[in-house]
Amino acid sequence: MGGGPAIMSTSIVGDAFVWLNDPLNWRGPQGITALTLEHLGMSVLAVLLAAAVALPVGVWLGQRRGGGAATVALANTSRALPTFALLLLFASTSIGFGNRPTVLAAAIFAVPPMLSSTYAGLRDVDRGVRDAARGMGMSRPRSLALVELPLALPLIAAGVRTATVQVIATVPLAALVGGGGLGPIIITGLATRRFGEVLAGGILVAGLCLLAEGVLALAQRRLTPRAMRTRRPGPLRASTGS
C-alpha cells in the first residue's frame, strides 16, 4: 500500500513483461499454457452445463410464448446475487473446494443470459411464418427444427456468446477457493506482494476474455444469414464476473 506507488510503477510494468517473457513461466504443469487450457476447460464445462438447462427450457418457453415474466425475474435476481457469494456457499458444502464449485457457480450464472435470449429468439419468430409452416403440413417438431430454430439462431448464438465470455470472466474467482485456471496467478501474486505477476495475470485474464469475445463475435456473425445481419447495438453485456 502507499509507499510511493508512483516510483514503483515503472518497475512493476517491467516486472510484468519480464515475467510474461520468461519461457519458464509458460511451460510445465503450472505454466501459463497449462493454466490457460485449464481455464478454458472449466469454462467450456460450465457453458455446456448451463446450455443443457437453458436451451431446452428457453426453446420450450419461447415456443409457448409464455413465462417471460419468470425469465426476467430470474435475470434480475441473478444480477443482484454476487457470484462470489454463491461460489463460497457451494465451496462450504460437500461440493468441496477448487474447480468444482467454481464451474457450478459459473454455470448457474450463465443460465439467465442464454435462457432469455433463446426465449426471445423463439418468441419473436413471425407468427405468419409459423402459420405458413404449419399450413404447409409441417408437424410442430418439424416446424421447430426447420423454420423456427434457424430463425432464432442469431439470438441464441448471441446468448451463448454473452454467457461464454461471462463464464471466462468468472472462472478466475476459483483462485479464492483453491481452484485453478489463470486466477491463481493474480491471487498468489497479491499474497506474495509480487505486483509484476499480479499485473501480468490481470493482462492475461483480460486478454483471454477479449480474445474469446472477438472469436465468438466472428462466429456469431458467420451463423447469422446475411439478410438478418443488423447493426443494432445490443444491450451492454455483463461479463464482469460479479
Partner: protein
C-alpha cells in the same frame, strides 16, 4: 479437554444461519455493511456525474457516439478480477482500487443508457422546441434530458444493482465490503457468516432497485399511464 474427549466430541455446529452470530458480531457486520453502502453510493454518483456530460457531449455526433458505445462494450468485457489486478500495482491495495473499478463499470452502463435515452427522444418534440427558439443547452436540460429520464432511470437501476454485487469482488484487493465477511466465513468454515452477508447484499440490491424505480416513477409522472 484432553485429546480423547476432543475426538469423541460431536462435530461443531455449522448452521446456515444464526441469530447469536449476528448479535455477537453486530459491530463487524455494520462496518462491512457501511463499507459496502458507501462504496456503492460513491461509485454510482461519481459515474453518473461523469456519464451525464459525456453522453450529452457525444449525443448528436453519431460517429463519436458509436465510438463511445463500441469502446464501452469492449471495456465491459474485461473481468473485474483482472481490472483490480491491473489497477492494484498502481493504486495499491484497498479502497481506491475498488472504487476506481466500480466507477468504471457503472460509467459504462450509465453512458450507454443516457445516450440511448437521448437518441430516443421524439424528433418532433425536439423540432418543436427548436421552432420555439430553444438553444442547445436549454434544449438539453429542459427537453431532451426529461424525455430521456425513463432510460436514465433504467441505467441507474442496472448500474446500482450490478455495483452492489461487484463490490464483493473487492475481496481480491482486501476491500470487499460484505464480501470481506463472506470470505472470512469461508476461510473459517462458518456458513452463517457467508449467508448473513449474502442476504444483506441481496437486501441492499433489491431495496436500492425499488427506491430508484419509485424515484423514477415520481420524476416521470407522464410516463405512468404508458408503463402500466
Amino acid at each position: 479437554m484432553d485429546a480423547r474427549s476432543w475426538a469423541e466430541a460431536p462435530p461443531v455446529a455449522n448452521p446456515w444461519f444464526s441469530w447469536s452470530y449476528v448479535e455477537a458480531n453486530r459491530a463487524d457486520i455494520a462496518e462491512a455493511l457501511g463499507q459496502h453502502l458507501t462504496l456503492t453510493v460513491q461509485a454510482v454518483l461519481v459515474a453518473f456525474a461523469v456519464a451525464l456530460p459525456l453522453a450529452a457531449l457525444v449525443h448528436g455526433r453519431p460517429r463519436l457516439a458509436a465510438a463511445v458505445l463500441g469502446v464501452s462494450g469492449v471495456l465491459y468485457t474485461v473481468p473485474s478480477v483482472a481490472l483490480f489486478a491491473i489497477l492494484a500495482p498502481f493504486t495499491g491495495i484497498g479502497r481506491t482500487t475498488v472504487l476506481i473499478g466500480l466507477v468504471g463499470y457503472a460509467l459504462l452502463v450509465l453512458v450507454r443508457h443516457v445516450l440511448v435515452g437521448l437518441e430516443g427522444v421524439d424528433p418532433g418534440v425536439v423540432d418543436a422546441a427548436r421552432g420555439l427558439g430553444y438553444g442547445r443547452m436549454r434544449m438539453l436540460v429542459t427537453v431532451e434530458l426529461p424525455n430521456a429520464l425513463p432510460s436514465v432511470v433504467v441505467g441507474l437501476r442496472l448500474a446500482t444493482v450490478t455495483t452492489v454485487a461487484l463490490v464483493t469482488i473487492g475481496v481480491v484487493v482486501g476491500y470487499g465490503g460484505l464480501g470481506q465477511l463472506m470470505y472470512r466465513g469461508f476461510n473459517s468454515a462458518y456458513r452463517a457468516e457467508i449467508v448473513t452477508a449474502t442476504v444483506l447484499c441481496l437486501v441492499i440490491a433489491f431495496a436500492a432497485d425499488l427506491l430508484l424505480a419509485l424515484a423514477g416513477r415520481l420524476a416521470t409522472p407522464w410516463a405512468a399511464g404508458r408503463r402500466s
